[in-house]
């Protein structure tokens, strides 16, 4: 329970919100054994638990597809909306106006976002809606049994479909050109990175896109397929090791930072992301550089992972609307219906 804050000698499995990890779990997954999506759900549970976020303070959104089923598998105590195929962004945009103190966690897939929902995907980026937008990207339609998605690489062979003749859509690049404010890519097989990026995304104020390559063990896991475990493991090029440091979290601050190789990025809430660069010094606030790295990785067949782009200068959507402090959905008739004298005033405004 929320009020049961930890006291001296409380078991260590209770976080600062007074909750155990179980309080963050959802229903058992009905996805396939070994599906990358399950691993992501687990990291969502862990990230929220470790960040002491109260489940009632977030909202879950999804569209339609395997990925969109996953909000059932985490945060049972959180309101959720499994909406329509490709339309999650609009539901979330409106849904987050009810109580602007809430943060959205949205899960979509490559079919949901890069095909049927491309339009809404792009527009939710430019509006900077206050939510984490996870794309569980496997290059294939799972629920309808193995058709190509728009993120599938050219030349990919699938059992029933033959060879994919089209060029793929790059989720991160689309997000960047649509002016998203937080763009990261990861690989479901790299659980630690997924978790750290999730934490950074949750701390970001605005839209945070996480394109997570999440292999489909049933329909798209051949060794040479770009959305497979074997390919991902062999071709992943993290641009940095990433650590999320919560504000005022002394335990985490004890961690050693290696000067010269690391870069700290401050988020709105005072937390910090530490990027330990592996190769070149990478500046995630440089949009041009982000585009160059993505282009380079495409040409070299690399799966570049890490925080690709971050802009902390823009206000999120609800902030732009200068809303009253009270959540809009707690307002009553006294706030919402103009007073009686206003009717004369408005009649006088007519001819």
């Amino acid at each position: 329970m929320v009020e049961a804050l930890p006291m001296a000698g409380a078991p260590t499995n209770i976080n600062l919100a007074g909750l155990t990890k179980n309080d963050y779990r959802g229903n058992p997954s009905t996805l396939c054994q070994g599906c990358g999506h399950n691993s992501i759900s687990n990291q969502i549970v862990t990230a929220l638990y470790e960040m002491n976020i109260v489940p009632e303070n977030v909202l879950k959104f999804s569209g339609i597809g395997c990925s969109s089923k996953s909000p059932t598998y985490f945060l049972n105590r959180t309101f959720g909306f499994n909406s329509l195929h490709g339309r999650m962004p609009s539901i979330a945009t409106g849904g987050l106006f009810g109580d602007h103190s809430m943060r959205g966690i949205s899960v979509s897939g490559d079919g949901d976002s890069a095909s049927i929902g491309m339009g809404q995907f792009k527009h939710v980026m430019r509006r900077n809606v206050n939510m984490v937008y996870i794309v569980e990207n496997n290059g294939v339609y799972g629920l309808t049994k193995g058709q190509f998605s728009a993120t599938a690489e050219r030349g990919l062979n699938l059992k029933k479909q033959g060879q994919n003749p089209y060029m793929p859509i790059d989720i991160c690049m689309e997000a960047l050109v649509s002016n998203a404010t937080f763009i990261a890519r990861s690989f479901a097989g790299n659980a630690k990175q997924v978790k750290e990026l999730l934490k950074a995304a949750l701390a970001h104020d605005g839209i945070a896109v996480l394109d997570i390559i999440s292999p489909c063990v049933t329909f798209n896991n051949n060794e040479d397929a770009h959305h497979s475990y074997p390919w991902g493991k062999d071709n992943e090029h993290p641009i940095h090791e990433i650590s999320y440091i919560a504000p005022r979290n002394e335990i985490m601050l004890d961690r050693e930072l290696e000067a010269g190789e690391s870069r700290e990025v401050k988020l709105h809430d005072g937390s910090t992301i530490v990027l330990k660069n592996l190769e070149n010094s990478y500046d995630p606030s440089n949009r041009y550089e982000a585009l160059r790295v993505m282009e380079e990785s495409q040409r070299n067949n690399w799966l570049v992972t890490g925080l690709l782009y971050l802009d902390t200068t823009r206000q999120n959507l609800t902030t732009q609307y200068n809303l009253v402090d009270t959540p809009l959905n707690r307002l009553t008739q006294a706030d919402l219906r103009p007073e009686r004298t206003a009717i004369d005033k408005v009649n006088a405004l007519m001819f």
Binding site: P55, I91, G98, T318, D325, R337
Partner: protein
């Protein structure tokens, strides 16, 4: 010469984008201020500049203000439509035109008035060259003022309103009016019978359009969220929200209690509105037919997931893009059954601009009470044209926020609740709102099959139970939706059932049917679907019920036949849809074409319903035989 006072029509033909709307509105408003019942309708093309456009005014001392099919007075300013405009004047009518149009005058049966508009404007040193065309429009207002008798003071009132008190444009335009009037006084000899005389029949009335009224009504209903996408003829509804919300919901802390978002398309517009409705906001969208086609998937989701949201459909004529700037009642069956699978929509049908205001706030109460999308079907004529109206009335009923459980409520019932559980037997479940901090308050919303606790299920019995409850909810809705408006007359033998903006045309047609043909018709204007008990009672009374509507297929007639199969033979569809606002002429002629004299006579003699039914059958057979004979003889 005979005088015809306060009973004629005026049509002005101009080019789209030529700035004539100020002049036309000034005509309308100044005559309205003279106390004479009036309507003005803009018959415009889907175009920004160049195509012919008309503005048609009807003045009628008895209050019959439906559009007239014929023109008593025509003002022609557009060379492209000159011949057509001249041909459209009734014999004995008046034809005014700008004398720079050099085209043959082919009529000798109408009064012809050439007007030197360009010369008059050019002679006014206070009108800059690039304003001449705009201000020139005011010259014909002045000429008409002199010849038909519009009070110049009232014209000044109208101009002051239009230019929001800004003296410079008021003066410039009013000087053109006066110049026109002076020229007409000195140079024109009145050769037609049409005159205006001041009355007191518009005292206390206001003049506005349905979209503005709908927006203001929504604000009094506490609107908090609107997602919208521009589309004719609905755009001005959302734009009126944007205009009036800052005035009517201004706060000392200068913060906002609402958000309006222009979406990327209608899918997203309704998606956002549904999201906001789900999260507990009074939420709406406004669109027209093509937009509604896109909104269909979200309408289905909102129906099944039971999310309150208000959807205004300002109808234009389809199918497809259709005639984007012409009016219609063509979306009724589409909306009634909107979405795949079994569904029933709750639809409100405002009949005038004051009802647009009323349904603006009432629709939110209904949406939150019944937890479903509420569709409000207005149309282009009502939405975009200026109508005289009784003033807006402050909502006397407190807001109904429906069945909502907050933290303390959940605590009281110890978390023992189900999102889709029919606790009260009325089909309406309880809901919680995201942001509720009670650990037992949340549920998972989905468009997939769900049980009483919102859990995913594919089990047949649970699915059926839920679908039955949704149907029951629709029954419950009947006690909440607005009742029809009844216009009874004594000794009525037939009924007329209509809805929406056709009211004025129906009332006028009914008067004529009585006066000229001795047909006495009871009239019921339906204001909502599902039908209420008042509709049941009305239909039980008459063997012939003429169902009047502006579409091709008689959509209300189709729904009536489905909902009232026992009266199916009684319904006679009077449906017509050419994009023009309804006129009394087509209502009257449509009814006369379908009217069966035998049955109405029989009805008084035979009291038993079954017997009279038989009579209908016999009459029909006889009629059919006559037709056959005719064909054979021909």
């Amino acid at each position: 010469m005979n005088k015809i006072v306060n009973d004629f029509s005026i049509t002005v033909g101009t080019k789209n984008g030529s700035g004539s709307s100020t002049a036309n509105n000034t005509l309308l408003r100044s005559i309205f201020k003279m106390g004479i019942p009036i309507s003005g309708k803009n018959l415009f093309p889907s175009n920004i500049q160049g195509l012919p456009t008309w503005y048609t005014i009807r003045v009628n001392k008895d209050g019959f203000i439906a559009r007239r099919d014929h023109n008593d007075i025509v003002v022609a300013l557009n060379p492209d439509s000159f011949a057509r405009d001249l041909a459209s004047v009734l014999p004995g009518g008046a034809f005014y035109y700008s004398d720079d149009i050099k085209q043959p005058i082919t009529r000798t049966d109408v009064a012809i008035y050439p007007m030197p508009i360009r010369t008059i404007v050019r002679n006014d040193p206070n009108v800059p060259a690039d304003f001449r065309d705009l201000v020139g429009n005011m010259v014909y207002v002045g000429v008409l003022a002199e010849t038909i008798g519009i009070d110049l003071e009232k014209i000044l009132v109208a101009l002051s309103f239009h230019f929001k008190g800004k003296q410079k444009p008021i003066d410039m335009n009013f000087n053109a009016v006066k110049a026109g009037a002076e020229w007409a006084k000195a140079n024109l000899e009145k050769k037609d019978p049409f005159r205006l005389e001041a009355m007191d029949k518009t005292d206390g009335l206001i003049m506005t359009d349905g979209n503005t009224a709908a927006a203001i009504g929504s604000i009094f209903g506490g609107v908090q969220f609107a997602g919208w996408y521009p589309i004719t003829p609905a755009s001005s509804l959302a734009e009126a929200l944007i205009d009036y919300l800052p005035i009517l919901r201004k706060r000392e802390d200068e913060k906002n209690t609402y958000a309006i978002i222009q979406a990327e398309d209608e899918l997203a517009a309704l998606g956002m509105a549904v999201g906001a409705g789900w999260s507990g906001l009074r939420s709406m969208t406004s669109t027209s037919g093509p937009g509604l086609s896109l909104m269909t998937e979200f309408a289905g989701l909102a129906y099944y997931a039971e999310i309150p949201v208000v959807i205004w459909d300002v109808q234009r004529i389809g199918p497809s893009t259709g005639l984007p700037t012409r009016t219609s009642q063509g979306d009724l069956t589409f909306v009634y059954f909107i979405g795949h699978g079994d569904s029933h929509s709750i639809i409100l049908l405002p009949g005038d601009v004051s009802e647009c205001f009323d349904f603006g706030w009432q629709s939110f109460d209904l949406a939150e009470r019944i937890q479903t999308p509420i569709f409000v079907l207005s149309d282009l004529d009502m939405g975009m044209n200026q109508w005289m109206s009784k003033p807006f009335e402050y909502p006397e009923k407190p807001m109904d926020r429906g069945k909502v459980l907050w933290e303390k409520d959940i605590e009281e019932i110890k978390g023992n609740w189900g999102r889709y559980l029919d606790k009260d037997g009325d089909g309406i479940p309880y809901r919680t709102i995201p942001g509720n901090k009670h650990p037992l308050s949340s549920y998972f919303t989905r468009g997939t099959g769900h049980d009483e606790h919102a859990k995913y299920t594919e089990e047949s019995d649970k699915f059926l139970k839920n679908m039955d409850r949704l149907k029951r909810k629709n029954e419950t809705a009947k006690q909440y939706v607005p009742a029809p408006i009844s216009y009874p007359i004594e000794d009525a033998t037939v009924g007329i059932l209509a809805y929406g903006s056709t009211e004025a045309a129906v009332l006028e047609a009914r008067y004529e049917l009585d006066k000229d043909h001795g047909i006495k018709a009871d009239f019921l204007r339906v204001r909502a679907l599902p039908f209420t008990k008042e509709v049941d009672a009305f239909l039980a009374k008459y063997d012939q019920v003429f169902v009047v509507e502006m579409n091709r297929d008689g959509q209300m007639n189709q729904i009536l036949k489905t909902e009232y199969p026992q009266y199916a033979v009684n319904f006679k569809s009077v449906a017509y849809g050419d994009g023009m606002p309804a006129s009394a002429k087509w209502v009257r002629e449509g009814i006369l074409e379908k009217y069966e004299k035998a049955t109405s006579n029989q009805r008084t003699a035979i009291s038993k319903k079954t017997a009279s039914k038989k009579a209908v059958g016999i009459a029909k057979k006889v009629a059919a035989k006559k037709v056959t004979k005719k064909v054979v003889a021909g």
